[in-house]
């Protein structure tokens, strides 16, 4: 995997701008050989498609009670649907992800999709065997209906008139997409971070549809600490004078607020150790302190660059809506207890956490495992040793890839 560079000597608009990829070198593989297939390829050119549904009067009923439509959902597919339609993997993404998970959107597209290391011929999700669908989310800004979309009723962007959506709403919209694709059974649903929340909601909402479940670096509910970080990010956006109560479309966007929100986010995705290894106290383009408030340290430069590049590709209101959806997600509360949440579930689980992830710490994955086990549900749990913090789920692709491919392979042959 390519190292993502950020400093002033690198082309800032080119390959370096893929924010969904953490800015870390790929670690040397610890698992080699027999567990992974040797040949790995790209899915090639992938086209983002759009599914429109919930046209009035058949709007979707949201968890908040509001009826909402029309809705568009962006998605991509890789591989071939089998004749018996039993090889479908649904990939769901994290906060800032999109439908473009693998391959390139055009031949001159420099960067591949956000999980290209995991999806493709011979990779963790082998597209020679599986039909992989990656769906975007309602509320987002990557081709699906969200606050920056035009309200057909007014001809203007929704802004804050967009309803507050939940993880469950995201999943229900994806269910409609799968019905449209003629898919009524999922071999597997997989995702990390907020994608993992969607994964858990998927199997709880539609237990009869899902055979294998892979929640990665995730939780059944955010900790107070994680909600706190989300709120600081939202306050950064909402206190930017350019935010204008969410009605900034066609005007100056709340650049500073969204940028700061992303900077905070990035800190939470890394670990003390990975930041130390990556930046230490190195200075940016200077040999001595400047004794001013211009950038001194590399870590400052990195965060500013990350913040600035995020603003170019993400909508501030979507950031508010999506973080709110994460904060509201609470499976134990919704079902009385986490044990009860899984009462109807019969799927097999592969639960993965990362040792240095302090945003979605391992104890939260263990709570999921414990509740699954209580319900006699087959579950493999592993905590992968990694220094990359929450970002590890996108970085530790060797360990994760072999776990996923073996789990899919053995899980496919059963039931």
């Amino acid at each position: 995997m390519r190292a993502v560079r950020w400093n002033s000597r690198t082309n800032r608009t080119g390959a370096s701008a893929r924010d969904e990829s953490p800015g870390v070198e790929h670690p040397v593989s610890r698992i080699t050989g027999s567990l992974m297939k040797p040949e790995r390829g790209s899915v090639g050119i992938a086209e983002t498609k759009y599914f429109a549904f919930a046209e009035p009067p058949n709007e979707m009923v949201l968890e908040c009670g509001r009826k909402f439509g029309p809705i568009a959902l962006a998605y991509e597919t890789y591989g071939e649907l089998s004749d018996t339609r039993d090889n479908v993997i649904l990939v769901v993404h994290a906060l800032s992800g999109d439908a473009h998970a693998a391959g390139h959107n055009s031949p001159d597209d420099e960067k591949p999709g956000w999980w290209d290391v995991m999806i493709g011929p011979g990779k963790g999700m082998d597209t020679d065997k599986y039909f992989v669908v990656c769906s975007n989310i309602i509320g987002g800004c990557k081709g699906s209906t969200g606050p920056s979309s035009i309200n057909p009723g007014t001809g203007r962007p929704y802004g804050l008139t967009f309803p507050v959506v939940t993880i469950k709403d995201m999943v229900n919209a994806q269910k409609a997409l799968l019905s449209h694709l003629g898919v009524d059974r999922l071999l597997c649903v997989i995702g990390g971070s907020m994608g993992g929340m969607q994964v858990l909601q998927w199997v709880v909402s539609y237990p009869e549809m899902v055979r294998l479940v892979i929640p990665i670096a995730t939780t059944s509910r955010l900790s107070a600490q994680a909600i706190a970080f989300d709120e600081v990010g939202r306050q950064a956006i909402m206190s930017d004078p350019d935010w204008m109560g969410g009605d900034y479309y066609g005007k100056t966007i709340p650049h500073r607020g969204l940028s700061i929100a992303r900077m905070i986010g990035h800190i939470t995705y890394m670990s003390d150790k990975s930041m130390h290894a990556k930046f230490g106290r190195k200075l940016q383009d200077k040999a001595e302190y400047g004794y001013d408030f211009v950038t001194d340290f590399e870590v400052e430069s990195y965060l500013r660059y990350r913040g600035d590049s995020f603003v170019k590709r993400f909508d501030a209101n979507s950031y508010l809506y999506i973080t709110k959806a994460m904060d509201y997600f609470d499976l134990p509360q919704a079902h009385g207890s986490l044990k009860q949440a899984f009462a109807e579930v019969h799927a097999k689980f592969l639960v993965v956490s990362f040792s240095s992830d302090w945003l979605f710490p391992s104890y939260q994955s263990k709570e999921i495992v414990s509740a699954l086990r209580y319900n006699n549900i087959d579950v493999i749990y592993t905590e992968i040793q990694s220094d990359y913090g929450h970002d590890a789920f996108l970085v530790e692709s060797e360990q994760l890839g072999s776990l996923i491919s073996n789990f899919l392979e053995h899980g496919r042959g059963r039931i």
Binding site: I31, K366, V369, S370, R373, H410
Partner: protein, 219 residues
Amino acid sequence: MAVEETKLDEDGTVVRLAPEHKLIIGLVEPGSRVMDLGCGEGDLLKALKVLKNIRGEGIELSEECIQACVAKGLFNIHHGDLDEGLADYADKSVDYVVLTNTIQVLHRPLFLIKEMARVGKKCIISFPNFGHWSIRLQLLLNGRMPKSPRLPYEWYDTPNIHLATIADFRDFCPVAGLRILKEIRLRTTGEGQCKVVHLLPNLFADAAIFLVEERSRGS
């Protein structure tokens, strides 16, 4: 330790079985629920699954071992540290809790074995016998810390910190609140096979397997 390759019928999988694994498999009732603590690469669980149709689960500390278990198609493997106990597991929730060749590396063997007896209806515990004549002789004649094929480490970098003899373990069972149901003393032979020892087992057996259960209150 000598191992034996055993071909399992189901899918032609070959697993490596330690000599005493066959004896342990013999103690397990078909169709039961078995938890293997420190399950390694899942060889015993896989064999139990194929030969005894058990519902198995394993707890293992090593990430690489868990990868190997998943590659074998085992579906209930949990990453965990045995020294932290079995707090997530309910009383008597499995038929057998198995601890093979691991008791000597635990920091708190009494704690874990009580946990095993709480979670399992029965427990199977195997361990190397530190009372074997060759070990006694090494210490007596050489005056140096003994080593054996089962205990091959130098004293300064051994993971084995709680070694016991068969006699020690028998004394230990009432302390841990255990009743001994069965005791198999064995001697490993050169070909990775093992034989049951009847005569002076604490002297001639190099390992032992105990089948135990929790003493009910008042008994």
